[in-house]
Symmetry: C2
């Protein structure tokens, strides 16, 4: 589409842009009756419950276009949303995308953003069914609403954790945050001296975790396979500390998690060391890992013995509310968890 490279978005107009962006979108789900092109999308969820969530991403707050490729940004914007749907033990089926486009953006740039959005839709089998496209006087604005479905009895809320339930997390934590620190550092170096090109080799894992995270569809499928319904679940978007506190608050419980059980990738530890930071802090407060945090009853624990390549870790347990919410450190200290993190005063 080289001939479009310098095409002015203004020439296209809003309706032209919507046609351009949505012309190759094919419907993938039976529940999608009609998508883009009317006042509203029409969905059909007989005998299922519908689950809806939304996220607003603003330039300068949630992303920095200096180091964020637009295709990755589009992909991540979808993942962030559907991660919330999986965290309800539901399956995302449709998204609605609104974008506010700065007049300095080219059509090619908008196409790259949508390429990422469409790639995520392909990967997670989601229909893009509508949205709103508008001019922005300031930066790029992305608002996505995701809709999913689940059988009524399968939906997992934040409020079902009970004392003695085990606290599990998937994958590893803190990598996305360390990736962000690296990108910010290289940006500062580049700002000081334009001739210095960032050297990001060897940092692939933490960069990918920051720029192109994935939602844990596989975990939801595995839980169905081993017939486990968590007692509560949340996605790790704000950091382990904030997110476990949400579970406790909604379930009216306390918790005890153990620093030495928190899974942290070697690459995360290396970067933390390089920056003279504590990797546990990145795991607790960094956020954006988009892993799942869930609680299970003790009797479901043995079902996790089924062989799998998925990484699921038990990092602590739920307690009575009166026992408080604590992290037990490697040095056996008990530190009260805080929404903004235990060392962030």
């Amino acid at each position: 589409m080289a001939e479009n490279k310098n095409q002015d978005l203004k020439n296209l107009g809003e309706f032209g842009l919507i046609d351009h962006l949505t012309k190759d979108i094919e419907i993938k789900n039976d529940s999608t009756i009609t998508g883009v092109g009317d006042d509203a999308a029409v969905l059909d969820y007989n005998n299922k419950q519908t689950v809806v969530t939304t996220d607003l991403l603003l330039q300068g707050i949630h992303f920095d276009l200096v180091y964020t490729p637009l295709k990755h940004l589009g992909y991540k914007a979808v993942v962030v949303n559907i991660s919330d749907i999986y965290a309800m033990n539901a399956t995302p089926k449709q998204i609605i995308v609104s974008i506010g486009i700065s007049s300095r953006m080219s059509l090619e740039a908008v196409d790259q953003l949508y390429d990422g959005i469409k790639l995520a839709c392909e990967k997670y089998n989601i229909d893009l069914v509508g949205g709103d496209t508008t001019t922005s006087l300031t930066g790029l604005t992305i608002s996505i609403t995701a809709i999913g479905e689940a059988n009524k009895d399968d939906i997992v809320y934040r409020n079902g954790a009970k004392p003695n339930d085990l606290i599990c997390i998937t994958g590893d934590l803190g990598a996305a945050y360390m990736g962000l620190q690296l990108l910010e550092r290289e940006k500062r170096v580049h700002d000081k001296n334009n001739a210095v090109q960032p050297d990001l080799s060897g940092y692939d894992y933490i960069l990918e975790r920051q720029l192109k995270p994935e939602a844990r569809k596989d975990i939801i499928e595995f839980l169905k396979e081993i017939d486990v319904k968590p007692t509560s679940m949340i996605d790790l978007s704000d950091g382990l500390s904030s997110d476990i506190m949400q579970i406790c608050k909604n379930s009216k419980t306390g918790c005890r998690i153990y620093e030495n059980k928190i899974p942290i990738d070697h690459a995360t530890s290396l970067m933390a060391e390089e920056l003279n930071m504590n990797p546990t802090v990145a795991a607790l407060n960094g956020g954006e890992d988009f892993e799942l945090l869930f609680t299970i009853s003790l009797q479901d624990y043995e079902k996790f013995s089924k062989e799998t390549e998925l990484k699921i870790y038990t990092i602590g347990h739920i307690t009575e509310e009166s026992k408080g919410k604590y992290l037990v450190t490697n040095g056996d200290q008990e530190i009260e968890l805080q929404a903004q993190g235990w060392n962030n005063e």
Copy 2:
């Protein structure tokens, strides 16, 4: 809540703000299983189809806080969305609200915005079931997604208009646009001389149409009452010209509308005269009227003889696609309609 007046939003934090804004929200609809407070809202639509739409409102593009009271802005943001749901012949049931808040906004200001949102939810019997709250580096950003329900056979799309169908519109057109012109004029006067207070008395109708529009719930109810299902429908958000062209494009038809049939309120005409503008141009291109434009088959026409206080006007008819899309002016000229309006070259 005077003691909150100067309270810093930062002290409250995101979770605190969400709690504060949503603490008095009560669920009104059976289809709302759970609302605010989890990764996603849970909805139940057995035996109904779900209709979803979204709108993104950006400061400086869609609203000017100089003359837009925040409560009105919140109200209008909801109305704009649910108007799209009614335009599908469906009933709005839930909304999800995301806001990006500039750091210069006070908690009191955010409360006013939410007061308007909640007032619209009360009036239209809608549940606020979730959202996202974030800081904005620039202006205020509001993104709302509305969800509605309808029986499968009742949903009206844009693509069902047939040649000889009558084209109907509700209410009157152009008033919201003239209200905007008035507000812009007074802003310019005030910018030049701060001592001059705007005199808006006598302009109530056009100001209300701009600042506090309503969605046509009553029309949808009336259509059910007289047992008429329009062949196509759209809400008048972009102006009559653009919107009838959407119907024609999707239905693969032409149309002929008559200037002398377009309902224009006396207050709109007066303001147009004062500004030396053509009120028909405001009706065709102004937009934001949030009236309904629909087409009906000839045999349904007599059903509209039922007594009602609702204003519904027949302004033309659908033609074969090859006949084109035309406005017949008061001077009996035939002018081809354009998406940006017939006189906007």
